[in-house]
């Protein structure tokens, strides 16, 4: 069956450390994978997109990797800050017939402690 999985356990780290979040998928062949941030009671906010032919993408303190052999994406936040505390969602594009849609992971909750 098709699955997309993120670390189910909440991640607690100390301010200044690097947070690493994992997104694994099975039985999909996405051309793109996206990462979003979601704060309580708010809608997801787009962070980064990576294509299947890209190994790595960076934006300020954020870095995403995409390994289509392992079927895994890693999301890193370097020099983490308490303001980075949120739930992080990965979403992969799924080609369903002539249309594409995003399939979402459950998200990983990150808490950055001062």
């Amino acid at each position: 069956s098709q699955k997309i999985e993120q670390n189910s356990e909440a991640l607690n780290i100390q301010e200044g450390k690097t947070a690493t979040l994992t997104c694994n998928y099975t039985n999909y062949s996405p051309a793109y994978l996206q990462w979003y941030r979601q704060d309580p009671g708010r809608g997801p906010v787009f962070l980064l997109l990576i294509r299947e032919n890209e190994k790595e993408k960076r934006k300020e303190r954020l870095k995403v990797t995409f390994d289509t052999t392992l079927k895994q994406s890693l999301f890193h936040i370097t020099a983490s800050q308490p303001a980075d505390s949120a739930t992080y969602l990965c979403a992969l594009d799924h080609n369903a017939g002539n249309n594409r849609k995003l399939i979402w992971g459950l998200g990983t909750s990150l808490a950055v402690n001062p």
Partner: protein, 115 residues
């Protein structure tokens, strides 16, 4: 920065009643989406809409659901006869194009509570 707006922020309705959730997507976006998120669960795709018609829908989006773009700015989701299990956050999103290489911009959702 332009944003997607949704109204109301919270809707409480009796089971069996009809509800309409409203969204104003970003003005130059062409693709519109509805998602739902039951408390503590995944964001789930409901439907995508382009060029005044549904382009994709999930198995959740049954005959009780419908979408409409009644004018040039609004995009609505109607649930005809609500059930208890329809209680969830409903998010509207829009994107410039419909392929997976475009970010989707989300509103802050409508919390729907069915009593």
């Amino acid at each position: 920065e332009p944003e997607v707006t949704q109204t109301p922020s919270h809707q409480v309705t009796q089971m069996g009643q009809e509800v309409i959730l409203r969204c104003v997507p970003i003005s130059n976006h062409l693709y519109f989406y509805w998602y739902r998120q039951i408390l503590g669960q995944k964001v789930e795709f409901l439907v995508s809409f382009y060029n005044n018609e549904i382009s994709e829908k999930s198995e959740i989006f049954d005959d009780q659901f419908s979408v409409e773009r009644p004018d040039g700015s609004n995009f609505t989701l109607k649930i005809r006869s609500t059930k208890l299990e329809d209680s969830a956050m409903y998010f509207c999103a829009s994107s410039r194009q419909g392929v997976g290489n475009q970010p989707q911009h989300f509103g802050d959702g409508t919390r729907l509570s069915i009593l």
